[in-house]
């Protein structure tokens, strides 16, 4: 009996330890986000800051696609092919503006300052894609590593003032059962989904689960 109690209390302690740790973490994050975003409520002009950079590149894009631009997040060694063991084809410093020429798997073919080659997704900041631009509802995109939004080291980082769904709105929401009924009408059958997948040339495959990283 006593052992049971000890066991249970230890399990409880472990759960609470996690709760404790996480609490500190979240509070820190929320604090920064909430206060600062209100402090830099902005003019619509800044909305264009994120998207304007993409526009001049449009003309040089192939076909009808809007060419994307971005910036290196870190110093990047460009590769001649999209492989980690490929030969290097150039070097770009952090915060270099780049044109994004092609996407392939976890790689982007980019060019800047006469150099071009392949970089990994996480080495480059990108725009939001063409739809956000077309809808005129683009958000501010970070161009520099310093613009983390966490400190004022590079001065004020402007935002667009576009409002999101807040935690308060969720917590205080009045249930809307009619809306649930409305969305339930959009449900599709397995056969409909299969047909739609086939139309896009999607082929099912057997894929093993990915391992948890060390």
């Amino acid at each position: 009996m006593k052992q049971w109690i000890t066991l249970v209390s230890l399990a409880g302690l472990a759960v609470l330890a996690t709760a404790c740790g996480e609490k500190t973490d979240t509070t820190g994050k929320t604090g920064t986000g909430a206060t600062e975003s209100r402090a830099v409520e902005t003019a619509p002009a800044t909305r264009n800051a994120g998207t304007a950079a993409k526009e001049p590149a449009t003309a040089s894009g192939t076909g009808t696609a809007v060419q994307e631009t971005g910036a290196t997040r870190v110093a990047v060694t460009l590769m001649t092919t999209p492989h980690s063991d490929a030969k290097p084809s150039g070097q770009l410093a952090a915060n270099t503006s780049v044109n994004i020429l092609e996407r392939r798997g976890g790689w982007l073919r980019i060019s800047a300052k006469g150099a071009s080659g392949w970089a990994k997704l996480h080495q480059v900041r990108v725009g939001e894609g063409p739809q956000a631009t077309k809808s005129g509802e683009g958000l501010a995109i970070l161009k520099n590593v310093g613009e983390t939004g966490r400190s004022g080291s590079t001065g004020i980082v402007a935002t667009t003032g576009i409002r999101g769904l807040s935690a308060e709105q969720l917590t205080n929401a009045k249930p809307d059962p009619a809306a649930v009924k409305a969305i339930e009408r959009y449900r599709v059958t397995a056969a409909q989904a299969r047909e739609y997948a086939k139309a896009a040339g999607l082929k099912e495959a057997s894929v093993a689960a990915l391992p948890k990283p060390e």
Partner: protein
């Protein structure tokens, strides 16, 4: 109930104190520990029917906060893609429902039982169907793995929802359901465990690849999210309730490294996505909310 809160507070206080003091177990009130033990023992796994009922209630709350976009073609599209994705999981037969919420916020949610939501703000920031499928697959995996229910039973919300969950499983009381749904909604304002988010990223990639998409849809979305100014109000809730997007991208990319290369020529399905989005943007009228 008061006693329990006291016990939890006592435990928490001890935990947050230095380790040496936290181990002074003989100071603990044995009666209170017995009570904790009793509670853990009675926690029951809800049945699938209960799970759907709970999820439907939480979905009503989420829809109360942000209405569905009034665009049947867009809603049907997201259901076709989502249903196909969900068919490549261990729970293909759940009554899966997908909906686009009319908010500029960038976010996605899934409630127990298979109600999956993506915001219009998030959809606008995507480039192709593979990205949409990747995000829906991440959400679908939260449902398949019952991450929300797990958090309600074991985590920070256990005091609020845990008892009600087991009581509901036994007696199907309406008061219990209300309590669970309210605690369940709270979960979307607080977020799941970080480890569950990382696990859903890995599972999401695998599910979307099984469904035939380019595996890099979800990582591309994470790259986009990692590029958005975190001071934007539109991403505030998403960033508060999820681990850092750059970190997520790095972790999932490391797990994928070399393992899914034979699928990178899989379709991204861009033209269908672009055409649906083009009609949507052209005809969009915001839903009036009070």
């Amino acid at each position: 109930m008061k006693n329990r809160i006291a016990a939890v507070m006592l435990l928490t206080a001890m935990l947050c104190a230095p380790a040496a003091q936290a181990l002074k177990l003989d100071d603990l009130n044995v009666d209170k520990l017995k009570e904790v033990k009793g509670k853990l023992k009675t926690l029951q796994e809800p049945s699938e029917a209960d799970e759907i009922e709970i999820g439907r209630g939480v979905a009503a709350n989420l829809l109360g906060a942000a209405p569905p976009v009034n665009d049947p073609a867009l809603q049907a599209y997201v259901n076709r893609v989502g249903q196909w994705v969900a068919m490549h999981t261990d729970r293909p037969d759940l009554p899966w429902h997908f909906a686009v919420l009319d908010t500029d916020g960038v976010n996605a949610f899934a409630t127990p039982g298979g109600y999956v939501f993506i915001t219009r703000g998030m959809l606008l920031r995507m480039r192709d169907e593979a990205e949409l499928a990747g995000v829906l697959a991440h959400e679908v995996s939260h449902v398949v793995e019952k991450h929300a229910l797990k958090t309600m039973r074991k985590g920070k919300l256990a005091g609020l929802a845990g008892d009600a969950l087991s009581s509901y499983a036994e007696k199907k009381g309406k008061a219990d359901l209300t309590k669970i749904v309210s605690a369940g909604t709270e979960l979307y304002a607080r977020g799941l465990d970080k480890e569950d988010e990382f696990a859903a990223d890995r599972a999401g990639v695998v599910i979307a690849t099984r469904a035939g998409y380019d595996p890099y849809g979800l990582p591309s979305v994470l790259q986009t999210l990692a590029s958005i100014n975190p001071k934007e109000d539109a991403v505030a809730l998403m960033f508060k309730t999820h681990p850092d997007s750059g970190k997520r991208l790095e972790l999932v990319s490391n797990s994928m490294e070399g393992r899914l290369d034979k699928f990178i020529e899989n379709p991204r399905v861009k033209s269908r996505f672009d055409s649906i989005m083009k009609s949507h943007i052209a005809s969009y009228k915001p839903v009036k909310t009070n």
